[in-house]
């Protein structure tokens, strides 16, 4: 599948850097404002990058679990000073623990949305490209396995069909299971046998010679450098401010955190532009396209 958004045009290294920045930032910055900004950014990117998925997973699975986790937290956590009421078994339910639960599930939900975006953009091609630089043998292992999986599935289906042909459809569940095991054993033997033949094919095509290189599907362009620079310019000030304690926030014993200062607001703006940078880049791409269209 060809992806045409601005992020997918970038070098996979830049994409990885972007996701490291946003997920790291989401985990590191505990201030509610920043968590909210990260969530908004994540949802914007999700809308941009995961067009085909339409958020079914997020709505159906992730959101209920997160809400449940938020509600459950006060059951186990009794820290905090603002006691709302007492549970029948005697433990207090505190406002702080409720707030903590909400913030924690917000964090989790945001991270999940970011990972959805990551999965959508980081296709296996890109992941393998990143691996192939750092770990050629491991990337080859992944490449072989990715190649084998569809073949194995097809093989397995054929064996099951042959069983149905010869022995008739399985009547009981037990029989179906027995046949599945038999087919899987056939699959196992064949897969290992094929693996040995495949290794011969690899050797005959020169695998094992010293100094192996990797074909790079992606190359580094000026645009990648600029995007990288942009990411670092956004991330570093926020990181600095965070390490110096300017953005801290803590729930227990009472909710307290860094005051809303110009520095904090500045960091918030910078951080938000980091989070929605795919949207910004995409906008620039659209503008560039329009300009070229009018020039013609």
């Amino acid at each position: 599948m060809h992806r045409t958004d601005a992020v997918s045009r970038l070098h996979p290294g830049v994409i990885l850097l972007f996701f490291l920045c946003v997920v790291g930032g989401t985990l590191l910055l505990s201030h509610p404002l920043f968590r909210l900004l990260s969530l908004i950014g994540a949802l914007c990117c999700h809308a941009l990058l995961c067009r085909d998925a339409r958020g079914a997973f997020l709505l159906r699975t992730a959101l209920p679990v997160c809400l449940l986790a938020a509600v459950l937290n006060p059951l186990f956590n009794h820290q905090g000073v603002h006691i709302l009421f007492y549970f029948p078994w005697g433990n207090p339910c505190t406002g702080e623990s409720l707030l903590y639960g909400v913030l924690a599930s917000l964090l989790l939900f945001t991270v999940l949305v970011w990972f959805r975006c990551y999965t959508a953009v980081m296709t296996t091609d890109r992941s393998l490209f990143l691996f192939s630089r750092a770990a050629p043998a491991l990337s080859l292992l992944l490449r072989l396995a990715l190649r084998m999986i569809p073949a194995m599935r097809a093989d397995f289906a054929r064996t099951m069909e042959a069983q149905t042909c010869l022995l008739g459809p399985a009547k009981t569940k037990r029989e179906a299971l027995r046949r599945a095991f038999m087919a899987f054993r056939v699959q196992l033997r064949r897969a290992l046998e094929n693996a040995v033949q495949l290794s011969d094919a690899m050797k005959s095509r020169g695998y094992g010679l010293p100094g192996r290189t990797a074909y790079a599907l992606f190359s580094w362009h000026r645009r990648d450098g600029l995007c990288c620079l942009f990411l670092l310019c956004c991330a570093l000030p926020v990181l600095g401010a965070s390490l110096s304690g300017g953005l801290s926030f803590s729930v227990y014993p009472t909710p307290h955190g860094a005051a809303v200062t110009p520095l904090l607001l500045f960091c918030a703006i910078v951080y938000f532009s980091l989070c929605i940078s795919p949207v910004l880049w995409n906008r620039l791409e659209v503008l560039a396209w329009k300009r070229s269209g009018s020039a013609m």
Binding site: L103, S105, L108, L141, L146, R153, A176, R205, G206, Y207
Partner: protein, 865 residues
């Protein structure tokens, strides 16, 4: 100028009684297009592999192999890799990558070419072969012909001078095979690459070739131009003549003189001149096929694979009667296989009436799909318990003496015969054959035809779909063309093939307006009053050099006292557990944080429970008698390293962090520690420069673990992942176990979506594999089924669950404290128990197969690591 010279090459496999090659001497000139032919098992593959040092078979060799005057063994690996290209039989065991561009680049990557040069080579190769538009496609989505062309392109990227091909078209349909051969011809003519090709589709290949070598029983029986070899075959009355082009066989049949015609065109000229002196006699009429009762009747059959997909079969009418052999021909995608599957009852048509009188049996395109057991005898006895009948069938298909063989040690022809025997044992009335001649040589085809004719005589109805026009013309009672999902009216082969001009047999093309109604060579010869020489009885396949597989898990019987002991222990355990539970009450399980101190009585009861459990284990455990055959063990140093790293360093870090940091920081810390846990293994794997075989085996195990999910769809939440990872650890060592575990989880996350849990899953699964390897290495975990099952169950709950439950507490629950942890463990326990049970079940079922197959491969192919 000569490029390749073999002088007096003799080669013998270590376990074989006779040499596979005897005193073979041949030379190839630069730019030759040479064909190596001969019956199956005559040593063609051995000869070709000897010429490629990287995959040369092990054995005793004498004689000289020279490439441009240099002994092939003396070439540097890089030279040998780049200058000699090798293409093997089936594309699906040669493709390395999931994407076409990646596949193309593999050979050039291996040579270590710089980036600029890599790009250039990929670009020029893709352009030359016209595959630029495929570059983004998945290799799995290509057709067989396209895959094989891709393999060829992938070999040509290293710019070889000598191209070796081992039956490259045997798994392709005729159309794809012709395309492939045309490419070979173009490479040969256009680039001057020397080609040495082994083939049994000589009809198309022989006209292209400049030199032919005929191997029989490992000896070079003839060599020279195609004409020379055909003359030689005629002089010696070799049965192999049957594989030669029809025109040449006609020439031999009429004892012609002058140039041997190899192509249809030359054959027609020869026939025209022959006709001037020899007027044809009318053909003897073929008896009309006996029409028995109706076996299959289909009317208005329509089928499609999906609601919104186009019809594959549309309004198809078909009848076939008992004792009849009906052949359906057609191009790829015309619905041939679909029709057979509908007739076999695997697929149900959406419209139309289908009446089948009797039992059907389907021979799939790959007959090995019908073979599911580890012994030939088991294959047959699983469908028929009557030993006398099985014996008779073994004799009928000339399989006697092979009963104890492993089916994957059989040759292609033997596999086909075994599959046929298995089908016939189910006593079908209607035999459905899907491409029955794929991959068979001329002799094997004739043997197949004979056995099928006997089935027809026995009153069976045969419906075969095939691309093989020659086979259909020679054997079918009626033929029909399947086109666009419908069958035209079946006709006798003589009518069917003589009416058609393009899609017909070579004999029909040869004779079309010169001698009417001849569709096979025997027809053509009969038209001149010559009887076709009877083909000799097919010689049995030469014996293979395979060791017999040892029974891995021979069952040792448990003595009675042990059984009684186990029973007592089990009862004791249940009773003491119930008593203890009653004594303690539910309080222990509900409020872990405030567990009351146990009383002395409770201690005693729990102690008794533990003792009883131990008794059961001891009584049921077996001696090492049924241990797995020795597998390679990784060096102690590696085991010690993995053990210390995994069991000491990481847990310490995680524990210390848990007490000091809040949720998000702790998440970061644990991610960092996990990376530290995963990295050393991956780095060591890189540093070892793993062999192709190890990588391929590890990849296959990981892929199996993923593909296995689909296999057991009827059992929700039951996946064979952990079982396979543990077996990988036991068989190949801790590091390999760790790799298989972590790579499997990485892959499954790559394919099914990633999350913050990815590294944890990778680590947890890897840890299970590593533990299995370490314990097996230290002989704590014996490779016995029972022990493996217990270990697997414990691993699922304690290690995998033990890691993943806190992780979900961390991810979903927010904070980490004792209560939250405990509640997550408790709520995760049912899933963990299912996981444990499933793992134990999978280990029980799969351990003998995986360990047995790995050790089998080790004995037949040498070390896997």
């Amino acid at each position: 100028m000569e490029t390749l010279r073999l002088s007096h090459v003799t080669f013998q496999y270590p376990t074989a009684a006779v040499p596979a090659l005897r005193d073979v001497s041949l030379t190839l000139r630069r730019g030759d297009f040479a064909v190596l032919c001969g019956p199956s098992g005559s040593g063609k593959s051995t000869l070709l592999r000897l010429l490629k040092p990287a995959i040369a078979p092990h054995g005793e060799r004498s004689g000289e192999l020279l490439l441009d005057g240099v002994p092939i063994d003396a070439l540097s690996p890089r030279d040998a890799g780049a200058r000699i290209g090798f293409v093997a039989q089936s594309p699906h065991t040669q493709l390395v990558s999931d994407k076409v561009w990646h596949e193309l680049a593999f050979g050039a990557e291996s040579l270590g070419l710089p980036q600029e040069e890599l790009r250039r080579r990929v670009a020029e190769t893709a352009t030359y072969f016209g595959i630029t538009s495929w570059l983004d496609r998945n290799t799995a989505d290509l057709s067989g012909g396209e895959q094989q062309l891709l393999v060829l392109a992938g070999v040509m990227i290293t710019r070889p001078e000598l191209l070796l091909l081992d039956e490259p078209t045997s798994q392709l349909d005729p159309h794809a095979a012709q395309t492939f051969l045309r490419w070979l011809q173009q490479i040969n003519r256009d680039l001057g690459t020397t080609v040495l090709l082994s083939e049994h589709r000589l009809e198309e290949v022989l006209p292209l070739s400049s030199r032919v070598f005929l191997l029989e029983d490992g000896r070079l029986a003839a060599q020279g131009t195609p004409q020379d070899v055909i003359c030689r075959l005629r002089d010696t009355q070799s049965p192999f003549l049957a594989a030669m082009p029809t025109a040449a066989r006609f020439w031999c049949g009429v004892n012609g003189s002058g140039d041997v015609p190899c192509t249809v065109n030359d054959g027609r000229s020869y026939l025209a001149s022959y006709l001037q002196t020899h007027p044809p006699v009318p053909l003897p009429a073929k008896p009309d096929p006996v029409s028995g009762g109706c076996a299959v009747r289909a009317e208005g059959l329509s089928f499609r694979y999906g609601k919104d997909l186009p019809d594959v079969l549309r309004d198809l009418d078909l009848t076939a009667s008992t004792g009849e052999w009906l052949c359906l021909l057609g191009a790829n995608g015309s619905g041939k296989s679909t029709l057979l599957r509908v007739l076999a009852g695997v697929l149900r048509p959406q419209h139309g009436d289908l009446s089948i009188n009797g039992k059907t049996a389907l021979l799939p395109q790959r007959p090995e799909d019908l073979l599911w057991h580890e012994r030939v005898w088991d294959e047959l006895s699983c469908v028929c318990e009557d030993e006398a009948r099985v014996d008779a069938m073994l004799r009928r298909f000339r399989l006697t003496g092979l009963e104890d063989r492993h089916p994957s040690d059989l040759s292609g022809g033997e596999v086909q015969r075994l599959a046929m025997a298995k089908l016939l044992l189910t006593q079908p009335d209607i035999l459905l054959l899907d491409e029955p001649t794929k991959g068979l040589d001329a002799g094997q085809k004739e043997a197949l035809a004979q056995s099928l004719r006997r089935c027809c005589r026995d009153g069976m109805c045969i419906i075969a779909v095939s691309h093989d026009v020659e086979f259909c013309a020679a054997n079918a009672d009626r033929c029909a063309l399947l086109f666009d999902g419908a069958v035209q009216t079946p006709q006798t082969p003589r009518v069917f093939f003589s009416q058609s001009r393009l899609y017909t047999t070579a004999a029909a093309k040869l004779s079309r307006d010169l001698v009417p109604c001849c569709v096979t060579l025997s027809d053509l010869l009969a038209a001149f009053g010559i009887e076709m020489p009877k083909s000799r009885e097919n010689p049995p396949d030469p014996p293979r050099n395979a060791q017999q597989e040892k029974q891995v898990f021979a069952k040792a019987k448990l003595p009675l006292w042990r059984k009684i002991g186990a029973l007592c222990g089990g009862c004791g355990a249940i009773v003491s557990f119930c008593l203890a539970a009653k004594e303690t009450g539910p309080v222990l399980f509900s409020d872990f944080g405030a567990a009351p101190a146990l009383s002395a009585k409770q201690w005693v009861l729990f102690g008794a429970f533990a003792v009883c459990c131990l008794l059961v284990l001891l009584c049921l455990s077996r001696k090492r008698a049924d241990a797995v055959p020795p597998l390679p063990r990784e060096p102690v140093k590696r085991t010690v390293f993995s053990a210390v790293w995994l069991l000491l360093v990481l847990p310490l870090g995680l524990f210390l962090g848990a007490n000091a940091l809040d949720q998000s920081r702790y998440l970061l810390l644990s991610l960092g520690l996990l990376a530290a846990g995963l990295l050393p293994f991956f780095l060591r794997f890189e540093r070892r420069r793993p062999s192709a075989r190890l990588i391929a085996v590890l990849a296959a195990l990981s892929a199996l673990a993923i593909a296995g999910r689909a296999a057991f769809f009827m059992l929700p939440e039951c996946k064979p992942v952990l079982a396979i990872v543990i077996l990988a650890g036991v068989a190949l060592g801790g590091e390999s176990g760790f790799l298989v575990g972590s790579v499997t989880m990485l892959l499954s996350n790559l394919l099914f979506g990633q999350g913050p849990w990815t590294p944890y899953q990778m680590f947890a699964m890897g840890l299970c594999g590593a533990l299995a390897g370490i314990l097996a290495r230290c002989r704590v975990l014996p490779p016995r089924r029972g022990a493996l099952c217990v270990f697997g169950a414990v691993c699922a709950v304690v290690v995998y669950g033990g890691i993943m439950n806190p992780v979900s507490a961390l991810l979903w629950g927010g904070a980490l404290n004792r209560e939250i942890l405990f509640s997550y463990y408790l709520s995760g326990l049912p899933m963990d128990l299912i996981h444990a049970a499933a793992t134990a079940m999978f280990l029980w079922a799969l351990a003998p197969t995986i360990l047995g197959q790995l050790s089998r491969l080790q004995t037949t192919h040498g070390s896997l690591t």
